[in-house]
Structure formats: C-alpha cells, structure tokens
C-alpha cells in the first residue's frame, strides 16, 4: 500500500506532492561536512530522469555551469568544475548534500541550493522580478534531487 503510494508520487512527479516518506527541505539531516546520508524520498533515483533534469534549462540546467561529457546538451558552461568522474571523487551522500545545498560543503560556492526554501534575501516569485508570495518551492523536488544523484553516481572514469 505504502509502496503504491510512493510509486504514485514518483509518477505524478509534482513539486507540491509530498509523500509520507519525503523529507522536506527544512527537515533534511546533514552532517557537519554537508553530506546527506538518507534518501530524500525512499525511492531509488532514476539516472535517465536525472540526466534530463541536468540538461534542461527549465529544470536543473546543471550544464549551464558544469561540463558533463556524457550529456549531449549544447553549450555546456565552465563556471563550476567538470562533473566527469564525479562518482570517483564523491560518495552518494556527499553528492546528495552538494546537489541539495552546496554551500554546506563549499562555503564560498556560487552554486544555487536546489533543495532549500528559506533564508533568502529578497526572494522572488520565480523569474517575474516580483516578491515571492507564500511558501517557496525548492528549485528541484526531492525526487529530482535523487534522480540527479543517481545520474551523477554513473559518472566514473
């Protein structure tokens, strides 16, 4: 029953749908180095979905700043380090922590925090330039974070 509900949540893939297993941004347990041990959803990440999130401008758009040779997305940026071989350098928990809130691992990072909903200065209503109304959604859903982590875990050299 519970599995069905979780599977349904994954299918719906909605940012507003929070299953009983989903850890909300304010309840993420992070260690002192910025790692997150536990899955945010309890549902295994889908690497193919993660690759899509990383490539799409309307989703994570990770390739805006990072080069990933295995992705076909055009015009990959160089603001951040290349992610080739990321899985050789980082454990899954570290990757989950960096994708969720990189500043807890790298204090001076310019990387946006993809699973965080509070503590911003003049937060806006998406890209309208107007003030945010009500609670903010994280930039990626919990499952999208898990999908990205699953994809990153495939990047071995």
């Amino acid at each position: 029953m519970k599995r069905t509900a979780i599977a349904l949540a994954a299918l719906i893939g909605s940012g507003t749908f929070v299953s009983a297993e989903t850890v909300t941004p304010d309840n993420v347990v992070m260690d002192e180095y910025g790692s997150i041990e536990a899955s945010l959803t309890g549902v295994a990440g889908d690497p193919a979905a993660g690759a899509e999130v990383m490539s799409s401008r309307g989703l994570g758009n990770c390739v805006a700043c990072h080069q990933v040779s295995a992705l076909s997305a055009a015009f990959q940026g160089n603001v951040g380090p290349s992610l080739d071989g990321a899985a050789d350098r980082w454990e899954e928990a570290q990757l989950r922590g960096i994708v969720s809130n990189a500043k807890m691992t790298f204090p001076d990072s310019v990387m946006p925090s993809f699973y965080k909903t509070s503590g911003f200065i003049r937060p806006g209503n998406a890209f309208t330039g107007k003030a945010a109304e009500g609670a903010l959604e994280p930039l990626l859903t919990a499952q999208q974070i898990e999908d990205v982590v699953a994809y990153l875990a495939t990047l071995k050299e």
Partner: protein, 284 residues
C-alpha cells in the same frame, strides 16, 4: 561630428570589417569610425578591491558583434540616437522650452557630461544619474512631465547626450558627499539576492570570461550604456539591465530610479573609471 555621422548612417548597410577574435584578454582595439580610439582595458582604482583590470564589455563579444561597433554605419542604435536628437530641440511643457533652449549647442554643452555621472547634486542633496537629471530638467525647468525612467524617450536622450562624451574616460567621483551612496552600491554589488543567491560579483567578478551555457560573462561594465541589445532589438537603459539581472536570480528586483539602483549605478560606474564612454554600444 560623430552625432551627424551616426544619424546619416541610419538604415544603411556597409561591408563588415571583421575583427580577429574575441576574448577579454586578447588585444583587440576598438577604434570607432577609424578615428576615435577607445580605452577598453584599464587598471582599476585601489578602492575596487576585487578587480585589478577593468575590461569593456566589448572585449567579451565575438568578432561579428564587435564589428557592429567599429563603424557607426553598422551601429543599430542610430535610429534611437536620431529620435533623441529630435527630442533635444522639441519644445515640451508649460514653459515653452526644449533642452536646446537652455543648453543650446548639444556638442558644446554636453561634452564630458556622461563621463562624470552619476554625481552628487548639492541642491537635491542626493546622487543623481543622467536620467534623473534629465527628468529634473523636464519637471523643474520645462514644466513638462517626467519621462518613464527607463522608457524609450529617456534612453534615446541618454544616448544622444552620451555620444558627446564618446571616447572620454569615465570619471565618477566616489568620495565626498557621494561616498555614502557609493558604499551602499558596493554593499548591493556583493549581496547574494534571490532564491539563486547570486550577487553581481558572483558572475561579473568571480566568473567574468567564463560561460553560463552560451553566455560569455563580462565584467558587467556600464561604460557602454545605454546599449543596443540584439536580444531585444532596442536600446537598454542601464538600470533596466540591473533589474533584468536581479530578476534572473529569482529575486524581487529594485525599481529603475530607486535609491538602491542609483547607488549601484554609481558603484558599478566606478569599477570602470578610466574606460572610455562607449555609448551607444552593441551587446548581445
């Protein structure tokens, strides 16, 4: 002279002379119309802590785009400059005056003005931008309505006034009574706004010359404003550009003409003190 040429060339097409390559650190020379030598690289002042050398945004553009600024025959801002020139001598408001009624000759009266704005205005007790000074003239001297701060009329007028300083070094004052505003601008420059938590410095100081997808990040220098943006096909007012940048951090922006943006404009201008006034420039 340069105004005349930019006006005459509106709508005409000439053969492009392509520059070689485009990277901030190459030694491309910007010489407009074969005669105005522009400074596109200069050592910054000591008060700019995070930046040793200022580069004009022109240095970050590809050779096709650079070429559009080499000759006024190629500069698509010519039409807006034409409109700005027309409104310079157009009577408006209750006093029956135009800009020319008081300032007379455009070239003689406006040479060097753009280079020192924003600047402190004693009477107003505040830092004023070129745009706020233009509106002050309109409401206080002409009895006319203020223009929209970043609207077409304002931007065209800024362009035609800026053109009289083209090639002169930017030289805004950061000390004296303007210092408080300058400090406020500096603070804004380094504040990480919005849900993406990005400051001006994160992109334009820490990552100038890097790429965000296809966007080649410049230093965000404003010596070329108002700039003709190919993306929007029109002249863009500098504070309108600030607004767009802050919006893109998923933040609530400040308004063009606000105290915050005036302070930011003064500070960002000072990061490019010594670069040539380049307006109207051509940018992506």
């Amino acid at each position: 002279m340069t105004t005349t040429k930019l006006l005459k060339t509106a709508g005409l097409v000439a053969v492009l002379a392509y520059a070689s390559s485009a990277s901030a650190q190459d030694d491309s020379q910007l010489v407009i119309n074969g005669e105005i030598e522009m400074i596109t690289e200069v050592a910054t002042q000591d008060y700019i802590g995070g930046l040793k050398t200022a580069y004009s945004g022109w240095r970050f553009r590809n050779s096709d785009m650079q070429a559009m600024q080499l000759d006024d025959f190629e500069n698509p801002a010519a039409i807006a400059v034409d409109e700005g020139l027309a409104s310079w001598s157009k009577v408006d408001g209750s006093e029956g005056k135009s800009c020319a009624s008081c300032h007379e000759d455009l070239e003689a009266s406006m040479a060097g003005v753009r280079a020192v704005y924003p600047k402190w205005n004693e009477e107003a007790g505040a830092v004023m931008t070129l745009a706020s000074q233009i509106n002050n003239c309109r409401t206080e001297q002409m009895g006319a309505e203020a223009w929209k701060y970043d609207g077409t009329e304002m931007t065209g007028m800024e362009a035609v006034i800026s053109l009289q300083s083209r090639g002169m070094p930017v030289n805004v004052a950061v000390d004296g009574p303007a210092h408080d505003a300058w400090l406020k601008g500096e603070e804004i420059y380094y504040t990480r706004y919005g849900q993406l938590e990005l400051s001006c410095a994160n992109c334009h100081e820490d990552n100038a010359d890097n790429y965000i997808r296809a966007d080649h990040l410049s230093q965000g220098q404003i010596n070329g404003f108002p700039a003709f943006r190919l993306k929007t096909g029109g002249l863009v007012q500098v504070q309108n550009r600030f607004k767009g940048c802050i919006r893109d951090t998923r933040a609530e922006t400040f308004k063009p003409g606000s105290e915050e943006f005036v302070a930011l404009e003064l500070y960002v201008a000072s990061r490019g003190n010594g670069l040539s006034v380049e307006a109207p420039s051509v940018r992506p």
